[in-house]
């Protein structure tokens, strides 16, 4: 089969590799119909997530048709149409039983690596480095899915692949990001980052009763989509904008009740501190650029809740923890407990409360993946979400036009 492989920092190649096979009795093999590139894949592309190995198959947002099931799979059968959550959970351990699925005890073959770095290991993930298990990812034509009765959700309606694909990660991740900041009716919510997770966080915050949502980014197309979700947008690249002040002004001097960091470890900043972080990260003196966290610590109202769906990998520098303490804020974070959200969020799509396809800007074939990793990393104009058809080599016109998208 064809697969998108990480070959080193800033090096992505499509290779012909052997097809996956059943390894364990609860495995299923999925013939992938659609997959996507996630913003968090850029952390891998840029080499900031440790324990990648040359040849690793990337991709953790995918869906498809069940091709084959292992001897212990009871609920799925060949031909079922499924979306695969990006976290791998056994369904039986203390954490799974407590609905903390992304903290499953029993899915990571490399748990000892995570224990060395983090004390304990969370669940394994698809295509996301060996500290998270080293499972081959879904930017390929087939994938092996462990614990197939626990994770995949069957799609038994006629919704298009693209309508349900984002149940694999970004919609639940944005939703949990909003849910984790304990929104009370009428609360002001600030969202850093209007990439796909940020956009879903904005939409979800309104579903959960937010009063106003303020969205922070610098790219016009992302800010436009955020406004279409109902947010008031703040362009931090504007020289006159100071984020902490902007959020104070917009919230009657109080500060946002809830803050969501949908950016994570590779935050950008035009200030001197931003340059300092970039240099330190490049020199491996810090692993993450926590610029958003620094701003959020300052901007959030006293006693507010900060939710962090953005990915962090390691050691952070120059974090004003005194601000977080002094204002008595609450924090919630972590990989998404995917399995809690699949059914309810599928229903929200079926009920037409949201059409997740609104953010798709590009459709590509698998051979275009290396080129589009580069473009996505460079934030080429108009690029908001890339969907891959792994059975096409190239799609001649990959651009999904924004205006057409919304006239439908």
């Amino acid at each position: 089969m064809k697969a998108v492989c990480w070959m080193g920092t800033h090096s992505i190649e499509v290779h012909d590799v052997k097809d996956p096979e059943i390894i364990n009795p609860q495995d299923a093999i999925i013939r992938i119909t659609k997959t996507a590139i996630c913003g968090s894949d850029i952390h891998l592309y840029d080499g900031y997530i440790p324990t990648m190995e040359a040849g690793d198959i990337l991709g953790h947002e995918f869906m498809g048709i069940v091709e084959e099931v292992g001897s212990e799979v009871k609920k799925l059968k060949r031909g079922d149409r499924v979306v695969i959550p990006f976290t791998i959970a056994c369904g039986n351990c203390f954490f799974c039983k407590d609905n903390l699925w992304s903290l499953c005890d029993n899915s990571n073959p490399n748990a000892h690596v995570a224990e060395t770095m983090y004390g304990y290991s969370g669940s394994a993930l698809f295509g996301y480095s060996h500290i998270y298990g080293g499972y081959a990812g879904g930017q390929a034509q087939y994938a092996r899915v462990p614990f197939a009765d626990v994770g995949p959700i069957k799609i038994e309606n006629d919704l298009s692949d693209e309508s349900v694909l984002f149940l694999s990660d970004i919609y639940p991740t944005g939703f949990m990001g909003a849910q984790n900041c304990n929104i009370s009716p009428g609360d002001n919510v600030a969202v850093w980052g209007c990439g796909p997770v940020g956009l879903f966080a904005i939409a979800s915050a309104y579903m959960l009763g937010a009063g106003k949502v303020f969205a922070i980014d610098r790219f016009p197309e992302r800010l436009k989509l955020a406004r279409e979700c109902g947010a008031t947008t703040i362009d931090y690249s504007d020289d006159d904008v100071i984020i902490v002040e902007a959020l104070r002004d917009l919230t009657g001097g109080v500060g946002p009740d809830c803050c969501i960091d949908a950016v994570g470890m590779e935050a950008h900043s035009s200030t001197l501190v931003g340059v300092y972080d970039k240099v330190k990260q490049a020199l491996m003196l810090e692993t993450d650029r926590p610029f958003v966290l620094r701003q959020a610590f300052m901007a959030i109202r006293k006693g507010g809740t900060l939710s962090i769906p953005g990915v962090y990998g390691g050691v952070l520098d120059k974090l004003n923890f005194g601000a977080a303490f002094g204002k008595g804020i609450h924090m919630a974070m972590g990989q998404t407990h995917m399995h809690n959200y699949l059914a309810p969020l599928l229903k929200s799509i079926e009920d037409k409360k949201i059409d997740p396809t609104f953010m798709i800007s590009h459709r590509i074939g698998i051979q275009q993946a290396p080129e589009f990793y580069k473009k996505w990393q460079e934030k080429e104009a108009g690029m908001t979400k890339i969907v891959i058809d792994p059975w096409q080599d190239t799609i001649a016109n990959p651009v999904v036009r924004v205006m057409e998208r919304h006239s439908a």
Binding site: M1, A3, C5, M7, G8, E13, H15, V17, K18, D19, P20, E21, I23, N24, P25, Q26, T51, E53, A54, G55, D56, I57, S71, E72, I88, C90, G91, N92, C93, F94, K97, D105, N106, S107, N108, P109, N110, A111, H112, V113, A124, H130, G133, G134, Y135, A136, A140, R144, P146, F147
Partner: protein
Amino acid sequence: MATEVIPTDASKLKSVAQIAEGTAYKPLPQKAEDGYVTAHAIQTIAADPQTLYTLWRNVEAFPRWQEYVVSVKELGAGKSHWVMGNPEDKDGTRVEFDSQIERDTPGERIGWKSVTKGVEQEGVVTFVPAENGRGTIVTLIQKQRVPGGAVGNAVAAVAKRGPKQIVIEDLRHFKEMVEAGEIPSVAGQPHGPRGVTGSVKEWMLGETNPTPPGSSEQR
């Protein structure tokens, strides 16, 4: 070799596992001295003590869940014959020895010791109900001779892991088999060309150790 290094006294181990109120924490034995390493692992496993005891006492099933066990034959009266090595490497190193169960309290503990001259290892596993209803606190303590070579430490002679990590992985695999019904593995999955650096990383992360097959029959 002094058996006393491993506290086979049940009351001592129970006090650690149950974290008795009003008592001082006493670390489990974990030391390297005189050519021996004593290491431990502890896990809370979602099953009752009797079930876990029965699974562990079935020594012939060890190859299903413990790394580097090729085969085990029960010889009766608590004695068993062990063949250690990489099961996937038919021509690889094999170390054979006999082991004797010395303390066997159904539902509570199993203590064993090698009885083959030159192979020096002993261990104890205890099963204590978790008071918070989360199953059973399983404590595994092993004392092994290091460096092993073909004699001395039969496990370290064939495994690509440190003696402490071996103990941790053994108990982890036991837990995974019991709770998940299988042992997670990525062995044999597809990947692009690894090249030199990729292969070195695989080895450094311990991914070249063979994963035991696990078994859903245990659920």
